[in-house]
Subunit: 336 residues, 2 copies
């Protein structure tokens, strides 16, 4: 199995992508292709001992930065680490790609270079959301700000495949984020989507989930438009960081409290770990013709390694084929 | 000043509304009218010593429950504690009303009985959102699931009046919740609303706020549709309760950790207090012709008292008149 790592992507570039790739090759039976600046990548590789047969560099003269306009960057920077990497997946020279680079560009590249799975109108980002029960899949995490009911049904199908085939949740409870659990509660789009899912879904459609019940793991797959998904993810991040900040402030106010905090150190560490995105790798962009994982821009080597592991699981479990099959089953209903 | 308390509203009814009203009368220079079942209210009143001149009961033979359909309940239950209370505000026999009852019914009652302020298309709920800086006003907290740009502008106007005149924030930073700070980021409705606010706002329009920056208090007034507002409020509630649960679990795992937690008790208490809704009273329904405060359904006596204090501040600061004036300034631009 060959996995492409966009070595230049993310806030830290080769400094984290290279050790992440090396760790992955050490632990898993895979080969890695690093796309990007040969010299910079080699400089990082030279810091470690690694299997030269299983890590290959493809030199690229360009790089897509976070400031680049997504569509223009994909069209013009043909020799960028991202575009070259996507083309390797397109031509089947590689089985999957992970990138921590410009999200908009990566999504545009997924759509234009890999293309959509037949029958999928809107591919979507599907990050995992940590819950007290484990994790849930949130879809769409931000690729499509405005959606129509058909898209919600597609999100349900793709989220269900991901949750069941990759994460291993049996018969996932797939729910739409809304402002009440009853069928009649919601805004226009969620109410219409509820009806459509109730009628057409082959997955286990559990109706609506209120945002209050997301953190406790009521739903295994959380369907929403990309605007709402982004609000949920970013707000969670903001609240977690605010709460950790407030705790730290309270726990360092005097010497006695500092002592208490020392006693609780391992408890606090466990607690923080539950909210640590690096544990979960990246977010797949589901619905395109290939395995594409978006890693967090601020990924460290461990997060890159976990994203590679995730890409491997996608390949092993034929996620693209399963989505194709599920959509085909629907297509005969004339939804296109 | 006379404030109506819907004595039957909320999960606990007179058991909390009566002591809440008594505490408010003891602390503030106001009179209270309790609407509801005379016998039940008197039974609670008899448990306390209170100023008989300043607390009056108006008996009502009906009650609106959480199971009642909002519009039907308001139309049919003419002698309910909620409808009678709203009519007292309508006829100016009282200056404000607070209720912890059926939210949908209270909003419908506000619209049908009190009526809208001229020029306001969509009155909105405006709860406060606790931040590390103090509080922000979130508007709309759930009254209007689907909105148009004009409504966002109205929310900005009303939120600005509330934040500046009642909460005392000078020149509040009024922002639209979106998925990026740039003008072009968002969904259709937020992008259009951005343009409209930029063009028409007399308040301090600060552009977009990302959900990640809400908890830190970047925005003083947070504009969004009622669907997004509900998601933000409920998710915050869910995350806070999950985090408190996880902390408790970690901190009681063994005897040493329990000791650590005892040392940190006051710190943990302060920390929890920051997220305690009872501190903040209720959410005003802004844009109707009268002062209407929705208290949380699970309010205790302290929350009821704080909602009464809040109602008093609304009356003292002529919130309705200020909104009327601000909307009038806009009306000449032909927005209606």
């Amino acid at each position: 199995m060959k996995i492409v790592v966009d070595a230049m992507g993310g806030d830290h570039g080769p400094v984290v992508t290279v050790p992440g790739a090396i760790e992955a090759v050490n632990d898993y039976n895979i080969e890695i292709i690093l796309t990007g600046d040969q010299e910079k990548i080699q400089k990082e590789l030279d810091k470690y001992s690694y299997s030269k047969e299983r890590i290959k560099i493809i030199h690229c003269s360009e790089e897509i930065s976070n400031e680049d306009k997504p569509v223009a960057a994909i069209r013009r920077k043909k020799d960028s680490s991202m575009v070259v990497g996507l083309n390797l997946v397109k031509t089947k020279e590689a089985d999957a790609i992970i990138s921590a680079g410009n999200t908009g560009a990566l999504l545009a590249g997924g759509l234009f270079i890999l293309g959509r799975i037949k029958g999928i109108d809107r591919p979507a980002l599907a990050p995992v959301y940590p819950t007290t029960e484990g994790v849930a899949v949130l879809i769409d995490g931000g690729a499509n700000a405005d959606c129509r009911p058909r898209n919600f049904l597609e999100f349900g199908i793709m989220g269900d495949v991901y949750a069941s085939k990759v994460i291993g949740i049996q018969n996932p409870n797939v729910c739409i984020v809304s402002i009440g659990v009853e069928e009649g509660k919601g805004n226009e789009i969620t109410k219409e989507s509820y009806k459509l899912c109730k009628e057409k879904a082959r997955f286990n459609f559990g109706g609506n989930v209120e945002a209050r019940d997301i953190p406790s793991g009521y739903a295994d797959v959380i369907i929403c438009d990309g605007f709402t998904g982004n609000v949920i993810l970013k707000l969670t991040e903001g609240i977690a960081s605010t709460i950790f900040g407030a705790l730290k402030e309270e726990f360092t106010k005097n010497i006695l409290r500092k002592l208490g905090a020392v006693i609780l150190k391992s408890g606090l560490k466990n607690f923080k770990k539950r909210f640590d995105y690096t544990e979960y790798g990246g977010a797949p962009f589901l619905g395109v013709q290939g395995n594409l994982i978006k890693a967090h821009g601020s990924s460290n080597a461990k997060a890159i390694k976990n994203a590679i592991r995730q890409a491997k699981t996608f390949v092993e479990n034929n996620v693209v084929e399963h989505i194709e099959m599920e959509i085909k089953e629907l297509g005969e209903d004339g939804l296109d």
